[in-house]
Amino acid sequence: MSGYTGVTQEDLEIMLGAIGVASIDELFDSIPAGVRLRRPIDLPPGLPEQAVYAELRRLAARNVSAEDEITFLGAGMYDHYVPSIVDMLMSRSEFLTPYTPYQPEISQGGLQVMFEYQTAISELTGLPVSNASVYEGPSAVGAAAYLAKLANRRPRVLVSRGVHPDSRATLQTLAVGYGTTVEEIALDDGVTDLDALREAMGDDVSAVILQQPNFLGAIEDVAAIADAAHEHGALAICAADPLTLGVLEAPGNQGADVCVGEGQTLGNRLDFGGPSFGFFAATDAHIRRMPGRIAGETTDVDGRRGFVLTLQTREQHIRREKATSNICTSQALNALGGVVYLSWLGRTGITELAELMLQRTHYARETLAALDGVSKLHDRPVVREFALRLEAPVDKVLDRCAAAGINAGYRLGRTYDEHPDGLLVAITEQRTRADIDRLADVLGEAVAAERATAQVPA
C-alpha cells in the first residue's frame, strides 16, 4: 500500500474472496513462466514526498534557467511572461485531470475551450478552420505536408531553408514514412530565394513550406511564395510565430492554405522544450483532411447550445488505417493556456505586445550591430529576433557572456553550417532596454576580448 493505493488487509480478504482466488499473485497466472520477471524491478526504493521534492529541487538547481540569467535565447521558443491566470486556470482539477472529452455532456467546459481556442487561432492566422491542437511546432509542419499529400498526392515538397531546422528535420523523418521527397530552397540575404523557388516548382510539387518570421528572424513575403506555389497547384504552408501576427499580416490573408506553428509563445512555459502545443489552421477546403480533434457547435435535445468533437470520421478511432492522421492525445491543456493567454492579451494587447517587441528588436539590432566586430547577418526587416555575424568564435563569446550572467543567444553554427559566425538574438517583452544595453556591454567586451586573444600569436 502506497499513499496512492489503499487496499487494507480487510479489503484484500473481501476482494480476493469475491474474485475466488487465494492471492493477488494468482491473478497473474495467465502470464507464462517464460516471460516472467523473477526479481524485483531494479530501481531505487520509493521516497516520501518531501524527499522527491528535494531531489527535483536538486536537479532544478543544476540548470541555468531564464530565472537565473538574462536570456536572449530564442530559436523557436521564447521567454515570455506567463500571466498568473494561465497557471491558475491550467491547474484547476476540472481542466487538468479529465481525458479527451469523449462524453460531451460532462465535458462542455473543455469542448467550449477548444471551440474558443479554434476561434482565436482562426483569427490570428486568417484561416477559417483550426483544429484543437497538435503536439508542437515542428511536427505540425510534418503533419501539414501530410495534409498536402492527402490533398493532391504529389510526390515533392519544397521547404525553405528559413524554416526551423527542427521542423525541416521532422518533416524529413515523417516524409520518409508517407513517401514524400523533401527539397530545400536556399535563402538569399536572409529570406527565401524566390527565384530558386520558382525554378524548383513544378506540377509534381505538393506543397511549399515557409516560416514567418523565418529562423534568421527575417519577415518573409508570404504572398509571393504562396503565389509561386499556387501557380503550380501546390499548397502554400506557412509556419508562423503566432505572437508576431499582432503586427504581421495573417498568412491566411496572404494566400497560405495551411498555417501551423509552435504555440509556446502563447502563455506556455519554456519547460526545456515541452509540453507546449502546435496549432494547425487551414482553408475550408481542407476541413475534412485536418489532423486531430476539432470541436464543433451543436445543440442538445432540449435545444441548448453545446459543443462536441466533430468530423470524427477523419480520426483514427473511427477510420483507423484510413484516418487523416494517427494523432490521439494532443495538447488540450496547453491550448487552454493559449486561449487564456490570448484572451488576456486581447485585441489591442496583442498588437501592443508585438509592436513593443518590434521596437525593442530594432533597437537591439542597431545597438549590437554598432559594436566593433559585430554586424548584421542580413538586412531584412525583423520583428522579434535577428541574426548577427561576430568576428570572434561564437562559442567562446557566448561563454564569456554567460559568465557575466547574460545568455547572448543562439549560435547559428549549431544548425547552419554556412553561418559558423552567426548569432541569433531574441527579444521578448521581458527584455528591457536596460537588459539590451547590458547585453551590448557584455557582448562588446566579449568580442573584443576574444579578438584580442586571437591576435596573440599562438
Binding site: 491473478l27 523557436g76 503536439y135 514514412g177 530594432h362
Partner: protein, 503 residues
C-alpha cells in the same frame, strides 16, 4: 415550483456564451510594459504589416477568470469522481508532480540552453531513460515522442529504417482486430499496408492466422499485451518466435503497461520496440486531451536508428563527476520527430512518480490495478452478469470488456444508453464501443488508486440502471438529465460544421 425553469438544473439554465461574446470594446486585462526605446516607424514594409488586428476578446481579468472558472465547472474530472475509462488509465494525479514541474529551474529552462548549463535536466532525462529501460526490459530509450501515437509512429519508422538498413523493402504491418485505432492509422502514415490478424476464441492472437500471414513482406507486428480486452496473451512466446522468424519486428503498444509492472517486461516477452504512455501508466494528468509523452524503449538491433538527439552520460577521464550531453551525431538515426528534446515537463512528473514509488511501488500499482479490476468484474458478474457478460474468459488483467449485447436485446437499452445514464449517477462511463471486436463493448479500467468503496458504488449504479431499464428503458434511452447539457446532436454538428465563433 422549485427551480427557476422547470426541471432544469442551475447549470442547464445558463446559455453557453463564449469569451468572444463577453467583455466590451476597449476592455482589457493586459497592461503593456512601457516603450523604453525610441519609437521608429515603418519597420515593417507596408504590404507585410497586418491590416486589421485579430478580433481577440476584449475583457478584464475578472471577466476572463470568471468565464473560465465557470467553464471548468461544466467539466467532469478525475478529482471529482470515478473515471473508469478503459485503455486510458485514469489514475490519481499527484499534485507533487505539478509542484516540482513548476520549479523555475525546470519550467523556465530554455530548450536551446547550452547542455553544460542544463545538467540537471539532462541528468533527469538520462536517469528516466534508465528507469524506463529497466521497466521495459529493453536497453535503449528515446524520450522524444510526444504521445502514444507519436511513439507508435517512431516505432514503425524505426522498423522501416532497420529493414532498409538491411536492404529490405517490406510492405505490411500486422495488427490484431482488437488494436487501438492509432495502430492502423500509424501504419498508414508510415507508408505500410495494414494487415489484420484474427483473434482466437480466448481473445488472444490467432496463432494460426498469424503464421499464415507472417512472411518476408511483413515488417512488424503491433501488439498490446495485455490486449485491449484486458487479456494477457498466453501465446506471446510463440507469437514472438513467428514474427522474429520472418525477420519482422515486434512492437509493443504500451498503453496497458499498468497491468504488468514487476510481473513481466515487454523486452522479456520478445518485443523489439515499446512505447510508454507517460500520461497513463505514469500519471501525467490528461489535461482534457493532452499533453502526454510517448517515450520508446528498443532492443540493441534497433538502437542505431533511434531519433536524435540522445541524452548521453560521459564519465570524465579524470574520474570526476559524470556529465550529460545531447548526442546529435547519430548517422543511422531516423532523425527528429519533433522540436528540441521532447516533453520535458512530462518527464519531470514521471521521474517524480518513479522516485516516489520505487520498484516495489510500481509492482504494487500493477497488483492493485489487477486486483481492483478483477474485484469489480466479479461483483458486476454477480449483479448484472446476465445482461452484461464478460466478453472473453473468466478473469482479466487491469481492465475488462463487458458486452452490452444481451442488455440491448433483452432490456432494449444500448451500451450508449447505459453510459449516458451513468452520467446522472455522477460517474464517468467506461470506454464504449471499443474494442471493436466486442458487440456493444464496455471497457472498464478502474485503476489502482480507487478504493473498494468506489468500486462498490459503481456496481450499485450499474445494477440500478439495469434494473431501472427492465422497468422502463426510456429512462436510460433519454438520459442524461442532470448534466449541463443533455444528449447533443453530433450528426448535425458534422453535417454543418461550425468550428469557430462567428464575430
Amino acid at each position: 415550483m422549485s427551480a427557476l425553469d422547470g426541471g432544469a438544473t442551475p447549470q442547464q439554465r445558463e446559455r453557453a456564451t463564449t469569451i468572444f461574446e463577453k467583455g466590451a470594446p476597449g476592455r482589457r486585462a493586459f497592461i503593456a510594459p512601457e516603450l523604453d526605446v525610441p519609437q521608429v516607424d515603418g519597420l515593417i514594409p507596408a504590404g507585410l504589416r497586418r491590416a486589421a488586428p485579430p478580433r481577440l476578446p476584449e475583457a478584464t481579468e475578472p471577466e476572463i477568470v470568471r468565464h473560465y472558472v465557470n467553464l471548468s465547472k461544466r467539466n467532469f474530472d478525475l478529482d471529482s469522481g470515478f473515471y473508469p475509462l478503459g485503455s486510458c488509465t485514469m489514475k490519481h494525479n499527484p499534485r507533487l508532480h505539478e509542484r516540482v514541474a513548476a520549479l523555475p529551474g525546470h519550467a523556465r529552462l530554455h530548450p536551446a540552453q547550452d547542455p553544460r548549463r542544463a545538467q540537471g535536466a539532462l541528468e533527469l532525462m538520462y536517469e528516466l531513460q534508465g528507469a524506463l529501460a529497466e521497466i521495459a526490459g529493453l536497453p535503449h530509450v528515446s524520450l522524444q515522442p510526444s504521445a502514444g501515437s507519436h511513439g507508435e509512429l517512431a516505432g514503425v519508422l524505426l522498423t522501416r529504417a532497420y529493414h532498409a538498413d538491411r536492404g529490405e523493402q517490406r510492405t505490411k504491418v500486422l495488427t490484431p482486430d482488437s488494436a487501438h485505432g492509432t495502430n492502423p492509422a500509424t501504419v498508414t502514415m508510415a507508408g505500410y499496408e495494414v494487415v489484420k490478424v484474427a483473434l482466437d476464441a480466448a481473445g488472444g492472437v490467432d496463432v494460426d492466422d498469424l503464421r499464415a500471414k507472417a512472411d518476408e513482406s511483413v515488417a512488424c507486428l503491433m501488439l498490446t499485451n495485455p490486449s485491449t480486452l484486458g487479456i494477457f496473451d498466453p501465446n506471446i512466446e510463440e507469437i514472438a518466435k513467428i514474427v522474429h522468424d520472418v525477420g519482422a519486428t515486434l512492437y509493443y503498444d504500451g498503453a496497458n503497461l499498468n497491468a504488468v509492472m514487476g510481473y513481466s517486461r515487454p523486452g522479456d516477452m520478445g518485443f523489439d520496440i515499446v512505447h510508454f504512455n507517460l500520461h497513463k501508466t505514469f500519471t501525467q494528468p490528461h489535461g482534457g486531451g493532452g499533453p502526454g509523452a510517448g517515450p520508446i524503449a528498443v532492443s540493441d538491433r534497433i538502437e542505431p536508428y533511434l531519433p536524435r538527439p540522445q541524452v548521453v552520460r560521459r564519465e570524465p577521464a579524470n574520474g570526476g563527476p559524470p556529465t550529460y550531453d545531447l548526442d546529435e551525431d547519430r548517422p543511422k538515426s531516423i532523425g527528429k520527430l519533433r522540436g528540441f528534446q521532447g516533453n520535458y515537463g512530462v518527464f519531470v512528473r514521471t521521474y517524480a512518480y518513479i522516485r516516489s514509488l520505487g520498484g516495489e511501488g510500481l509492482k504494487d500499482v500493477s497488483e492493485v490495478a489487477v486486483l481492483n479490476a478483477n474485484y469489480l468484474l466479479a461483483r458486476l458478474r454477480e449483479r448484472v452478469g446476465e445482461h452484461l457478460p464478460l466478453a472473453f474468459g473468466e478473469r482479466c488483467m487491469h481492465e475488462f470488456v463487458l458486452s452490452g449485447a444481451p442488455m440491448k436485446k433483452e432490456l432494449g437499452i444500448r451500451t450508449l444508453d447505459l453510459a449516458k445514464r451513468l452520467l446522472d449517477h455522477g460517474m464517468h462511463p467506461p470506454t464504449v464501443y471499443f474494442p471493436l471486436v466486442v458487440d456493444e463493448a464496455l471497457l472498464v479500467e478502474p485503476t489502482e488508486t480507487e478504493t473498494r468503496e468506489t468500486l462498490d458504488l459503481f456496481v450499485e449504479a450499474i445494477a440500478a440502471i439495469v434494473e431501472e431499464a427492465a422497468a422502463d428503458p426510456d429512462i436510460a434511452r433519454n438520459a442524461p438529465y442532470t448534466t449541463p447539457v443533455r444528449r447533443l446532436d453530433e450528426a448535425g454538428a458534422a453535417k454543418r460544421p461550425r468550428v469557430r465563433e462567428t464575430l
